[in-house]
Structures are given as C-alpha cells and as structure tokens.
Amino acid sequence: MKDLHGFPGGLALAPRKAQSTQQPLARLPLGFEYVLPLLQHEGDPAEPQVTVGERVLRGQVIARAEGYFSLPIHAPTSGTVTGILPRPIPHPSGLMAECIVIEADGLDEVIADKASIEDPSAVHPSRLRNRLRECGVAGLGGAAFPTHIKLNPTGGRKADTLIINGAQCEPYISCDDMLLREQADEVIAGTAVMLTALDCPRALVAIESDTPDAMAAVDAAIEAAGDERIQRVMVPTVYPEGGERQLIQTLLGREVPSSGLPLDVGVICHNVATARAAWRAIHHGEALTERVVTVSGNGVRQPRNVIARLGTPVAELIAFCGGYTDSVTRLIMGGPMMGFALGDDEVPVVKGTTCILAADESEVVSHKEALPCIRCGECSEACPAGLLPQQLYWYAQDRDLDGVRDYHLFDCIECGCCDVVCPSHIPLVQYFRAAKTEIWAREQERRKSDIARERYEHRQARLAREAEAKKRRLEEKKKALAERKKGDSEVESEIDAIMSRVKARKKKDD
C-alpha cells in the first residue's frame, strides 16, 4: 500500500451509490432516433460528412475532426440521416447546437472495424494516438477531452506516472464502479497500452475505499495481466477526490501549477472508462459509440447502470429504468455537486455523460434564501484548492475584479464544497462563475478594443504616410514646374533678345 498525501478540505458526502449498484449492467435496447451533437468537448466542432437521407452504418464517421482539438463523430447504429440541424444539447446554458440526427433502421449493421493493433509496443506512439483519434476516444470521466492530446506529451516533457482515475467521488454516480466490476481486464489492458504510448514507467489505478468489489476486480485483473508497471491504490472516499488535481495531490503529493497542466509535474491522468475505450479502439478497432451511464435518484423507479449508445435521448434511459416516480422534481446530468440541471429530457447522452440523476425534493435544493456572510470560514475549511471563498465572495459582490483575481478566483474548480457548507446559504459558486464570465467578457472586450485601437493607429499612420507622400509629390511637381518656368523665362528672354535684335535691325534698315 502506498503512502497517501491527501488533499486539504473536501467533504464527506453521503455516497448514495447503493441504489444504482444492485443490478448488473444492462444494455439499452435499440431506439428509433439518435441525436449527435457536433461538439461534445472543449475545442472545435466536427464537420458533417454525410448528407440528409444518406444511409450510415454503426461506427461510420458521420462528422470528421476539424483541427487538433477536435474528434470525429461516429454513427451509433445503422440507419438514415434525417437531419443536420440545431437541437437542444446537454449544456448548462440549455441552448441548441448543430446535431446530426439518425433514424435507426433496427438492423444495427456495423461498418467493418479497423484492423487490430496486435502489439502496441511495436508501433510508433503516434499511430496509437491516431487510432484513438480516428475512433473518437474522449475522456469519459465527464469532460470528454480528446484522449489523443493527453497522450501526446509536448515540449520534451515526459510523464513518470500515469494515473487511472477510478475515484468517482460525487454522490450517486457508480458507472465506473460497475464498469470495473465487469470489465476490469479491459481497463487494465487499456492502461498498459497507454503506458506504452506514453513510454511511462508506472500506472496507479486509484479506487475509492467504498467500492470494494471494483477494487477486487482490478486486483484480479492486474494479477492476471502480470504487468508490474500497474499498481492499484485505494484512496479515501472524500469529495472531490476524483478531481484530477486533488487525485494527483493525494497520490503523489505534487501540485499542478496554477494555469499549468498535470504534465508539468510529470503526470498524465485518464479515467478508467477512457482506458477501456482506448483498449477497444486499439485492439478491436472499435469506435466509441456507447458508454456506461448511471441512472439514479428517487425520481426514477429502478435506478441502475446502463450501457447506452451515444445520442440516445435521456428520456429513453429513464423509460428503460421504469420511468419517473411521481415525486421527480429535477433532472441532472452528472452528479449533484458539479452536474447541471437539464430543462428537457429529450437531450442526448454524449461522451461526457456519466450520470442521469432524477432527483426529488428531498435530494436537491430547489430554493435557497441567503443570509449575509457571517465569516465563519467553513468555506475555506472545505475548499480543496486552498482558497478563501468568503473573501472572494466579498470581492465578487463588489464586482472588484482585481480583488477576485488577487484571491486566485481562477484556481476555483467549482466543486461546490463551499456552497454546501455555507450556513448562510450563499450561492458562492454562482458568484464565482459570474465573476469569471465577467472577467472573460472584459478580456474579450479589451482584446477587441485593442484590435480596434491598433487598427485605428495603423490607419492614422497610413493616412499620415499618404499625406506625407502627397506633400512630397506636390513639392516635386512645384519644383519641376519652377524649373520649367525658369526654362520658359530663358526662352522668353531669348525671344526678347531676338525680337530686340530684330527691332534694332529694322531700325537700322529704316
């Protein structure tokens, strides 16, 4: 057992995971319609590759990656493209975005898989990364960050530790737990491939102490694989243990520099489900078209974990789990701490969908009446980032944007711990998000005005230059004219001279 370093703050939240782990994983039956947003992560949206009316097969690329920070989108089943149009997407804003809609034909025909890369250590890592990219593998822990980018250390930096994150610290969510119980061998195989791709000496698979079954499965899988580079580590069940920065601190005692990356401290972090998806992509040539989703909460009749195709409407997951109970009041994608409330259950499951939480009145807060801050400091006791939320709040309230920056607003990971412990019920995270947005907006504004100013200055300079040139030209012309005039007067005087000579001669003649 490794010595753990822990992280400051955090909360011991009621796990509430048992309700969704009573039943084994179940595959959702095929639906009729799948909706695939073109952008499922930070970065650039994919470019549609199909036209309306075209027939597609499962695993076929229907939108190709545009740029480095982009991933292709694959058809989750066979069917016909019925539209490429804006549809509601799972996003906190509740906005619509461009999606490809596929009407399933029920045949679920699969496009020919890519060839298996039998020996990942025999090929160049770039080939492995390319494969992951072609297969659309993204971080399945929630952020859906393109995996190939995180497997491509830049600037000559090398990772000494790969962390496979199986610490699902948010209440309710158990999709990684269930995946490990049933497919730990593929997770470990994926981990080994990632180690090879990174040329990294060791991997730590972090499992929370309250998931003993998953832990046993991982231990068995590591033993079966006989890979000495991979080690399983039990981490305490405390929120937000599964946060990338917190997990690195717990396992290694290293802190990722502010506005830096884990690689800056020699670490790469991937989720367990991502490791499995990487294995499927490399060994089976399989594109990422499905994922495990936890469906839980008092608002759904039979909470459980399901394997759902990407693009499946949330409503279908709920229906599969027995439908809503009468008491359902909130629908949340993700956990109750960092997930966002959905306004509509027609939005699709995407790569980052870990959990659908149908909550009732007793599980979530619907209305908070805030009192003034009493400066009790519990928020800073709970903050895993070592911030002073109460001070940030004062500055945020005053819209003192220099103040919030000075108190390191941008190191806030929005985990929500401060919000939950605040006895005055102040929606701190909302204040912080608003302040961040305002700063971003101002920066954009400043950039814009900088550009405008630059443009204006350039124009002024150009006008000045032109004026100068004009002046010069004018002067030259004048000079030339003066020359000519001088020339003219010479001629005139010559003529005069001739005339006078002529006159003189005439006089003489007379």
Partner: protein
C-alpha cells in the same frame, strides 16, 4: 418532459445560521446550570430580559432598515448576543442596565454597522464595555457563591428578581451589603496592597485553583466549548490560541515569582477567560477567518487579557482584549492568506 433548472451544486446545504446559533445556546447550558447552582436564579431573569430586549431591538432595526424581519429573527444571533452579554453581568444587575447593554449591542454595535455579518466589533463585548464604563459600581457588585453565605442569608429567586426589577433586595439587606468583590477584583486590589498570593488565596472565595464556584462554571464552559469544537460549530484555533496567550505569560511570571503573580490555573478559572476562549472570541463575524489568522487573533486576545489584568487598570480584560483585536482583524486576514493550490507561497 420538461423540468425546472437551477445552478450546481444541487445538494442542500448541511447547516444554517439558525442551527449553529442554537448549538451555541445549547453549549452554554452546562455553564448556566453551574451558574444557577452557585449564584442563584438571577441569571435566568437577566437572560429573559436581555433576550426580549435584544429581539425587540433587532426587529425594530430590521424594520427601520427595511430588511426581512422574520428571516433574520429566526437566525437567533440576537439571542446569542444577549446570552453572552448576560454571562458577563453580575446576577442581580438591575434591568435597566441589562437593557442598556442589550440595546447598545444590537442597535449600535450590530445594526448601525450594517447588521448581521458586517459588525467589526463583537456586539456583546461592545455592550459590556459600555456598561462597564457607565455603571462601574453595579458591574462589580457580585453576589458571593451561595455556599459561602450563612444559611438563609443568600437571596433566593424572588429576592434576586426584586433586586433586578428595583435595584434593591427586599428586606433589610442591601445589594451593596451582601455583594462582594469577585476573586479577580480581590486579586487585583490585594496584590496592589503588596500582599502575597498565599495570603490572598486563603480567602474562602478562592477555590482550589480559581475562584470558588467559578471553577465549576469554567468546567461547564469547557464541556460546552469542546462540544462546539466536536460539532465543528467553532474551530480549535481560536480557543487554543486564546488559552495559550493567557497561560504562557501567566506560567512564565508565576514561575519567575509565585509570590506576587497569580497561578496560570487562577487566570484560567476566574473571570471570563474560558467564556472568551470558547464563546466570545469565536464569534465568527468579528474574528479573523483564516487558520493562521485565527491563531494570531486568539494569541493577541490572550496576551492582552494577561497584560491588562496584570498591569492595566481593570481586574478582567476580556472585553477590551476582544475589541482591540477585532480592530486588527482586517489586517490579520490580509496577511494570513493560505497558500492556494498550485501557487508558490
């Protein structure tokens, strides 16, 4: 199906100001029981008077300031202020004095600075200091503990109530006649008369380590205070720092010259040292909020208590020490920021 949305986090908060304040009040109960046992029922009447006045003043101020009255009255902070003030007052304090203190605490020290969460000074201590300066005689007229008074001489509940309502005990005895100086007062005056600690503490008003009766009230406060730390209503830094701030110099001077310096135990178990450490200095609004800041704040209070008691003009110094350190809080908070994750110091 459509749903209402709300921003994350969605989990309900696990505390409210009301539950915290309720716990503070509950934590005062052991000390209150000891108090009643040694000094009679006067404190109960004082509590009723001060709470009523404080709540009425709070309601009036909320109305004048146009704030939601019910929500703020429910937070119980006015009652906690009243209770802490009363714990510093003699058991037979006349009602108009208690009322003055409570009104000043709520109206001036709290609401004129912006109400809950905005007062730079501890309201209870501000109220107490006003009383200490305005009514110096009444504030030192403490009854001796019941156990030290001859049978039948100690004023019962009725007599104390009359004293509170009229300023005079019923019958022949006067408050002035029966009341005596507290151990801290005695210590201060007698040390001033160049008597030794051994001579002074021979008086029955001194108990085993502190003042007779006061020790048990102190024990009650420790029990309540430890429970508050256990339930995380308060954090350990301020109590520990205050006690260290008193005990370290007290031990040093006691070891240097035990004949003319009271023992550290006496400093701990007399006056309001323990009440200050666990209940007064820990008022979140007027205390420092960072961990390091709380330690600086607490040590400052402890040192000031010892300094004022030993070399200053007042026998006890809790109120002054707290108010002085309250002034330093913005500065302390500014320079005691914790290191943020991923940042150099």
């Amino acid at each position: 199906m459509r749903f209402a949305t709300s921003p994350a986090p969605h989990l309900a908060p696990n505390h409210s100001v009301t539950t915290l304040m309720l716990r503070v009040l509950l934590a005062l109960v052991p000390a209150l029981l000891a108090w009643v046992w040694f000094f009679g029922w006067g404190i109960i009447f004082n509590l009723l008077i001060a709470s009523t006045v404080a709540v009425a003043a709070e309601a009036l101020m909320l109305k004048l300031r146009g704030r939601p009255i019910r929500r703020h009255l429910m937070d119980l902070t006015a009652i906690v202020t009243a209770a802490l003030l009363v714990f510093c007052l003699p058991p037979t304090t006349p009602w108009w004095i208690t009322t003055t203190g409570a009104v000043f605490a709520i109206v001036f020290a709290k609401h004129l600075y912006g109400g809950l969460g905005h007062n730079p000074f501890n309201p209870a201590m501000a109220g107490y200091v006003v009383l200490l300066i305005s009514f110096p005689v009444e504030m030192t007229q403490w009854l001796p503990p019941r156990q030290l008074v001859e049978d039948g001489q100690f004023p019962g509940a009725w007599a104390q109530l009359v004293a509170i309502l009229t300023g005079e005990l019923p019958g022949a005895a006067t408050v002035d006649a029966i009341s005596r100086a507290t151990p801290l007062d005695v210590m201060k005056t007698e040390l001033g008369m160049a008597r030794t600690i051994a001579e002074i503490t021979a008086d029955p008003r001194f108990g085993d380590i502190g003042g007779y009766g006061w020790e048990w009230i102190g024990n009650g406060i420790i029990v309540g205070g430890l429970w508050l730390i256990y339930t995380k209503v308060i954090r350990w830094q301020i109590p520990v720092a205050v006690l260290a701030g008193v005990l370290v110099p007290a031990t040093f001077f006691y070891l240097l010259d035990p004949g003319s310096h009271a023992s550290p135990g006496f400093h701990l178990f007399s006056g309001a040292t323990l009440l200050c450490a666990f209940f007064i200095a820990t008022d979140p609004v007027s205390a420092a909020t960072t961990r390091l800041g709380r330690i600086i704040f607490g040590v400052g209070i402890g040192l000031l208590i010892y300094i004022i008691r030993t070399w200053g003009g007042y026998p006890d110094a809790v109120a002054f020490a707290v108010l002085l350190m309250n002034m330093a809080v913005p500065l302390i908070d500014r320079y005691s920021r914790p290191r943020t994750y991923g940042h150099e110091r």
